[in-house]
Symmetry: C2
Subunit: 302 residues, 2 copies
């Protein structure tokens, strides 16, 4: 009997869940709005899982791998999810009780890296770094095939690596000089707003800055280049620490393409420790499905 597993990606806005075969095929996917009450959230997830499983009753479901936007310990407990208004929640207990399935839980950024390792741009690797550059900068770090979760679920908080870029800019975390303050979409917008025409615009997106840079705006290009240097610097740091086989870049900001990746790689090749300075960069491949496939990877990819 073919084995399948649920991957569940719990976000602040929506929940995405899918049923995945042991070969990594995504059989069915559903997406629905997040409930902010914990009980209602897990009632909804369990109901959707039941519905999907009804379509594949001749498969054997071995469990559910769940990603949540917060620090996870022991593959079951999350200690607070700001985006969901959650305090401590026993995610494995809540979902296991409602479904009768074994449940494993991880931080969503780590889970995306597991997904990329299993079925995406990191296929075949056991040591990889995923930098997810969107509104913030998140990281999923895999060493020897396992996620780095840390003592209290705070492993891979690469967006808060201290840097000497913009040492006077405060990050949302309260510190100064975090990678995220320079290299995220928010950081890029903040930097661009120092200059015309962005200074005068009511609304600026990272894409506006990329488009202006493409059209030859030197200030915009400088802002994107600096974000790239900051990312390359932190990629070099992570390479000294973890000695990965590949570095993956995902998230909305990675859509900037070569304009961003050239300064990333330039700084990386200069700053990475010799034996690792040649390793490849690649774009993450799985997009919104990374968390679902990562959830299944917690069961199928050991």
């Amino acid at each position: 009997m073919c084995q399948v597993c649920f991957g569940v990606d719990v976000g602040g806005t929506t929940v995405k869940l899918g049923l995945v075969t042991q070969d990594g095929e995504l059989l069915e996917k559903q997406e629905f709005v997040s409930a902010h009450d914990v009980g209602e959230m897990f009632d909804n997830i369990a109901a959707h899982m039941k519905e999907v499983m009804g379509h594949f009753s001749d498969y054997q479901c071995v469990g559910a791998g769940v990603g949540v936007p917060g620090p996870v310990v022991e593959e079951r407990l999350v200690h607070g999810c700001a985006n969901l208004g959650w305090g401590d929640v026993d995610v494995a207990g809540e979902l296991g009780r409602r479904t009768g399935l074994p449940v494993k839980v991880a931080n969503d950024a780590n889970l995306a890296a597991m997904g990329e390792m299993w079925q995406g741009a990191g296929r075949g690797c056991r040591d990889l770094v995923l930098l997810t550059v969107g509104t913030g900068v998140g990281g999923g770090l895999i060493t020897g095939g396992r996620m780095i979760t840390g003592a209290t679920g705070g492993g891979g908080e690469v967006g808060h690596i201290p840097t000497s870029f913009h040492p006077d800019w405060q990050c949302g975390c309260g510190k100064y000089g975090c990678l995220e303050a320079t290299a995220s979409a928010s950081g890029i917008i903040r930097a661009a707003r120092q200059f015309s025409p962005f200074k005068e615009q009511e609304r600026v997106t990272a894409k506006d800055v990329f488009d202006a840079a493409k059209d030859g705006d030197q200030n915009a290009l400088r802002v994107v280049t600096e974000a790239g240097h900051a990312l390359g610097h932190c990629a070099a740091i992570l390479t000294c620490v973890l000695n990965p086989e590949i570095i993956l870049i995902g998230g909305g900001v990675s859509a900037a393409g070569r304009m961003l990746m050239e300064p990333v790689e330039e700084t990386f090749r200069l700053e990475a420790f010799g034996p690792s300075s040649h390793i490849p960069f690649a774009r993450a491949q799985l997009g919104n499905d990374a968390g679902i496939l990562g959830g299944a990877a917690m069961f199928f990819c050991e």
Copy 2:
């Protein structure tokens, strides 16, 4: 029958080996000069192990954990040890063939961290960082109870983390701005040599610089303080990446004590990510026995 294990710490100058019980008691220790021929080296190690085992024939020996000063993969192969003039060596094969024992191999800095976790200052932890600050800066990184070795054995090369301290100083690795160029004994000496009286002295040791700083030499104090800031900065980086429970500082430079640790902790508390910024620092406890106990930990501490 009480189980025992050999820990073997292979260095460029000497080999230290010891027989360790499953409770972490070091029953007997031997130290002898390193041979540069690979075959002779392992003949010597096997002969010393046989001699020691003869004194404890009523114990059951389960294996040997070996630390080498180079990048190790698959717990058996080392890809070059500059200090020993070795190319690729199948350490587990060489020693296993001569002793009939299961052999596990690791990088010496990683193994010291395993030793500290099992029987030293990191006892009870599963996530820890050991910074060994001597002639260079080495690191042993443990996540979830396992050493970070990386794809090609280059995990934990924290001495080569790029920093903005002395960006124009070249490190032995060829790069500029490495942590090691600022925070090692060599870096401290180099920085102190910019000033009198060190500029004029033929021979300067890190201890000379510490002693001068204690005696009120402001330049010497500034040099030690800067080394501390660089270490604190990198400890903060490692905390963002790994979320450890504790950070241990070992090696000769750590003998500087509070003079060094105050700037380390000052920078760390400023730069470490919030949830981890309160974690303790401690001095490594095992000194020269760390590698021997770490070798045994590869068998006894899972």
